[in-house]
Symmetry: C2
Subunit: 336 residues, 2 copies
């Protein structure tokens, strides 16, 4: 254990992420300094949010520097500690570098949390029990505030967040309509996750299919994609509808912002609202929310869609794939 | 009193309203039927909302039919009543036709209210004491929810709604920035209404001027215009900002919807919301709110910007002018 295999940011992406924007290196591992904790990475989460940090733009996060290690949520095990409160064997979920042996200081660990307390696979800590689950729950319940019997529509419905949003809304007594691309994804949403209807945006007519799937209109729209799909759903919103802005995958790769949703104007006559959120604002409720979700998973009321790819070296290809819609559910990397 | 001078919808406007879209007629007045009340119109309000009812589109109001009488808020006096509860001399604010002698039934009167109880000009019932005041108050306080010390930006700031929004926000302890077009309007907002700063969108650079006028960003934006101005303000919103969608004058004349605000995406990182409303949803609070506003006007804390044009015949020209920004404050027609 003297070398560290890592993925660095080679250059800032122009539009869509290319494998060449990342590079793989093996570097010697420096001795651990006081006040630091060294980890062995177990699972790395591949998330659209990381794409935003690759641009040289101020956001809620500092941009990743060129030649800096790439970053996302991960779950890792302490292998050496020179910081009080952390011991060998502790399992932690935090922002970790895309590397075999990340090293964190106290400041960085503040945003982390103890993991591994549920009798569930450790990779779930990065999805349903981690950011995806929190995002789904907070976006749906705190921002969307659905009532039983209302129609909830979610886009990127077979994704890590969307698949949980739909199942949480079903558990809440809502009619749930997923928007997804492809027959296989559509089938699994209906058959495995219990969605009431699915609109395949790659087939048919989005407007008409959405209308047919939502005969009583849309009360809550959980938007993971932006663009054309958001614009179309806005034409079907009910009075006092709530549009939850979660991600905008269709926009995140654009060099210049595309036109906004022209039907935002429907918010006016429908007295509806469109609202963004980040889970950080609800940090005090994280444990409680994850406990609730874990109970649903253990009961079988929430089923987990997950794809696991193997090894640090597989990241550049898998990460680029994330933006092409070529996966079902949460995409995680098992660090060998 | 045997003829009725009226303004009818001659044809559906193509884009911007033209004087020729309206026509003036003199028609004989039929005898009053049971269950109806006849009025002498005193003041007619000219509002952007009427433009929406001229299109053949479903909305919260039925479209005005071709050759139907045009419609807006008005204040009128009962001259003959064949309906219990209404007597000669009663002053009523309601939706009235653009005509000298409107006739309403019980159903139509349900949306009306008794007027004239304040020691203020009767025309104010159509502006600060009527829809404009309610729109300003409800939009600002129920949707915008500003806190003292926050920065409130309002567009169409010298208009009937905007001028009240700004003054209400000042009374609430906010920093108030108006967006308006033209030096004369800008001057009056600062000198007469006490705005802290004004951005003239017809001069200089909107983005830079807005940035200079809002050094601490924007907490509440009361949007009366949509389009480019909304898009620019979105770039300056603070975390948890509230964008109040009130009107969209810049869009209301468009045949096909223009692109939406591309910076709506800022709502995401800023965890902000954009929300529409209509005052009807708060009908139970109307009297209380108007009483509050009347007290401010009587105290001199709210100053009224108003332009009065004379006579039914003047309407087609004045109504077209409404959409060209060529007026300051509330535009009303005094029925001779």
């Amino acid at each position: 254990m003297t070398t560290n295999r890592r993925i660095l940011l080679a250059r800032r992406p122009q539009g869509q992420v290319q494998e060449e924007d990342l590079r793989f290196v093996e570097e010697p591992l420096a001795p651990l300094q006081d006040g630091h904790v060294r980890f062995r990475n177990r699972y790395i989460s591949l998330d659209p949010a990381t794409r935003g940090w690759m641009d040289d733009k101020a956001s809620y996060m500092q941009p990743i520097p060129i030649d800096g290690v790439m970053l996302s949520a991960g779950v890792a095990e302490v292998i050496e500690s020179k910081l009080d409160g952390w011991e060998k064997g502790d399992i932690v979920s935090a922002l970790f570098g895309w590397e075999e042996y990340p090293t964190l200081n106290a400041q960085q660990l503040k945003m982390g949390r103890r993991a591994g307390k549920y009798a569930l696979p450790l990779s779930y800590e990065l999805g349903v029990l981690g950011g995806n689950g929190l995002t789904a729950y907070i976006g749906l319940h705190k921002i969307g505030q659905p009532k039983a019997g209302e129609t909830v529509v979610v886009s990127a419905a077979s994704g890590g967040v969307g698949s949980i949003v739909g199942q949480l809304a079903k558990l809440h007594g809502c009619r749930v309509v997923g928007i997804t691309g492809g027959a296989e994804k559509a089938r699994r949403l209906i058959d495995e996750l219990g969605f009431d209807a699915v609109v395949d945006y790659k087939e048919g007519n989005l407007y008409q299919d959405l209308r047919a799937a939502c005969p009583s209109g849309v009360d809550v729209y959980f938007d993971n994609v932006g663009g054309e799909i958001l614009d179309t759903v806005l034409t079907r919103i009910n009075v006092h509808a709530r549009v939850v802005l979660c991600g905008a995958i269709s926009q995140i790769n654009e060099e210049t912002l595309p036109p906004g949703p022209k039907n935002y104007i429907r918010l006016l006559a429908r007295r509806a609202r469109m609202e963004g959120f980040i889970t950080l604002d609800y940090a005090r409720e994280w444990v409680e929310i994850s406990d609730k979700i874990a109970a649903h998973v253990l009961d079988g009321d929430i089923r987990v869609l997950e794809e696991v790819v193997d090894g640090i070296e597989a990241i550049p290809n898998a990460f680029a794939r994330l933006f092409r819609g070529e996966k079902i559910g949460k995409l995680v990397v098992k660090v060998s």
